[in-house]
Symmetry: C2
Subunit: 429 residues, 2 copies
């Protein structure tokens, strides 16, 4: 057990720093090019879905069960068997689902864009309002925040807890301020913490009484079946069902995709929502396109068969990335435990680990790692406007690098944490 | 040679009508369910691309030439070899091309939507302007008009000639009215006429001097290589090159897709434009998505090899649909020639024939056809706001039905033309 940095004398800290910098020098000479920045599946994970390239061939009928030729135009909301598969994946009735193209981010963007130009269910288009605000549980997903920032929507950070967003704050804003039009949520294995919303939090979401009739929960269930452990899976109440029970059927847009199930960029994305919202959306969607890629929908259906096939497939993903999460966490424990200079999450699913450094150290840590050849997600990226008020959050993405590289990167990362923290504490003395 | 209806006496017309209605009765009893309404490829055309299902398989490397793994995230503007193939198809430099998802209509919608919310190259977003207008060569493509109508953009019809839009009118509007922000064009084998713009028309487009700095030509080259005859192909000057020569490099957005080359809904769409416009667009696109379906891009590249492969493939399409166009035109000639009750185009490519009836007959003709089991595109659909001022244009789509069905449908259609025309002339007497 190492002595906490916070309990070291100035001299002890100075000596520690000297040792750390010598170590850092060695890493710098290794000419590393490692990347823990993005939530990308690794090659072995992608290989799991190669069978998808074989399930459709030229000697097969590419019609779906109702006889529709998937090769031709039409079917704007997706083929029935894809809705059923994705319905099981999302825990929603297929009738509440629209199957889109390859990117759920694109669906979210389009959903905000449509609200800007045409409003939601007959309400004033957001672009015609003086103020439009979103609540942003933070740290959160940078690409969510980029969308709302791009549309000039004011973003208000809300604190995240291991049970989900601080619902007292959410309820206060949503019920009193009609300029609050939405909230970004990653309810299961959240990005970046890997937190899953508690039953209470989900139910409080469903029971919100928004001041704005066009307030919507943007529920990005990106990691709905992305468990790391078969015997330690997060369960959260299904939000559409809860909203319906609470008398708020139109309150939520729920998003998902197979990007981290089959191939990122070549999967199928989907939206689940109430019949009213669906009608509203389909009016617009029929202007935007004649239909999405039904052949790829059929390919996914034939590859998985059903949700059981998909669940078995996800276990193979878990077998590949679980050791990576565990290797990183083990190195964090070994090198940082007890030093009082950081905290980190221990997710049971999803794609990220969230690291909290001492205040005002995150940028420095990321910079040090970069200088030694390890790319991390930019410090601040997990906060609206890239503005992490304490400059303390760093998102760690362990899935992509080969495990040996990952271990090297994690060792270096912890070294950078120690250097930045020691320097910080010395400055303060 | 039949006597022209316009030269018949009232009694002759009355007798003719009686005979026609007896004939119509026979069709009504046939319980037909035929469709000449949409520009859909037929099954035999789709079969031509079934080899595309075999070119990628689980034992292959799905990397592109530069080593990028097409299965993973990234490459927002498309893989290089897809840009090269599509560049050859569009007659554009690959560097001027962005490869999108499956639908060029979606690209056009998003292009208008982006102009509404964010403006073009730093100009005021269209949604903040009092008036935004588009010129709409008419008859034209209904789905173009639906997009501008959806965004509340005022549409001004411009007459179409066999050489393209009336450029005197276009130049007058574009050079004098800064609220004119765009024009919809299908420059080659136009929808619905099958007209191809003359060299002069294309050059006059390129040399426009718009009053609005954010005026753009929406150049939907949907049928760029969709010839019916190998020895009678339309050639039009390449619009990006002409705009650049004219000192107007940023004037045009050019759209295309492989929807009617491989599979509608499972092809790849693209946009070609100037470096300035591309930069403007990519800023937005990077908020909207992480990337489009690269595996499908690779699939298209491996299937065709190069543009020669695509051209050979298009000849097979032509062999299937040319007899359909010719069968319809033969029946039009046989049943309508010399009657003075309609004119129609004789396209050398594309997907449609345009029929012009006597004034105020189109709706009636389409209604009569429908009552006897033949679905046509709605009368009026080819005009902005579905408002055909003369109620005379009908779009005929011969590609989808089997040829025997098509002949039956064409016979019935000409019968409906004759009935509606005879009734019209009798009313007028």
């Amino acid at each position: 057990m190492m002595k906490a940095y916070t309990e070291m004398s100035r001299e002890e800290l100075q000596n520690e720093l000297t040792t750390l910098l010598e170590e850092y020098d060695k890493y710098q000479k290794m000419d590393l090019h490692l990347d823990m920045s993005r939530g990308k599946p690794c090659r072995e994970q992608l290989d799991l879905s190669m069978g998808m390239m074989d399930v459709l061939s030229s000697d097969m009928d590419l019609s779906c069960n109702d006889g529709t030729d998937c090769r031709n135009y039409g079917v704007i909301d997706g083929i029935q068997e894809a809705k059923e598969l994705v319905g099981d994946m999302m825990e929603n009735n297929p009738d509440n689902i629209i199957i889109y193209g390859n990117s759920s981010l694109n669906v979210m963007y389009d959903t905000v864009s449509r609200a800007m130009t045409h409003g939601i269910l007959g309400n004033t288009p957001w672009s015609q309002l003086d103020q439009v605000k979103f609540l942003c549980p933070a740290p959160g997903y940078d690409r969510h925040f980029s969308i709302t920032e791009y549309f000039g929507i004011e973003m208000i950070p809300v604190a995240m807890t291991p049970d989900g967003p601080d619902m007292d704050v959410v309820e206060e804003y949503v019920s009193k301020d009609p300029t609050i039009k939405g909230i970004w949520c990653v309810p299961k294995y959240s990005n970046p913490q890997g937190y899953s919303y508690s039953k209470e939090v989900v139910c409080r979401f469903a029971r919100l009484k928004p001041a704005a009739p066009d307030f919507r929960i943007f529920w990005d269930n990106a990691y709905g079946i992305h468990h790391l452990y078969d015997d330690n899976q997060a369960y959260i109440p299904e939000i559409l069902a809860e909203c319906k029970k609470a008398g708020n059927p139109d309150l939520v847009y729920k998003f998902a995709s197979t990007s981290k199930i089959t191939f990122p960029g070549s999967g199928i994305a989907s939206l689940a929502t109430s019949p009213n919202n669906m009608e509203d959306i389909l009016k617009q969607l029929s202007k935007q396109t004649i239909g999405h890629d039904k052949v790829n929908q059929l390919r996914h259906v034939r590859f998985f068969g059903d949700i059981h096939g998909m669940v078995e497939h996800m276990k193979k993903h878990a077998d590949i990335i679980r050791p990576k999460f565990e290797a990183v966490l083990e190195i964090f424990d070994k090198n940082l435990e007890g030093l009082g200079i950081g905290e980190w999450t221990k997710p049971a699913g999803g794609y990220f680990i969230s690291f909290e450094s001492l205040d005002n150290c995150a940028q420095k840590i990321v910079h040090l790692a970069k200088k030694a050849g390890v790319k991390m997600t930019d410090a601040g990226a997990t906060w609206p406007y890239h503005n992490d008020p304490k400059d303390s959050n760093i998102r760690v993405a362990p899935t992509y690098p080969p495990i040996d590289d990952l271990k090297t990167a994690a060792e270096l990362f912890t070294l950078c944490v120690r250097i930045a923290s020691a320097e910080k504490l010395l400055e303060q003395n």
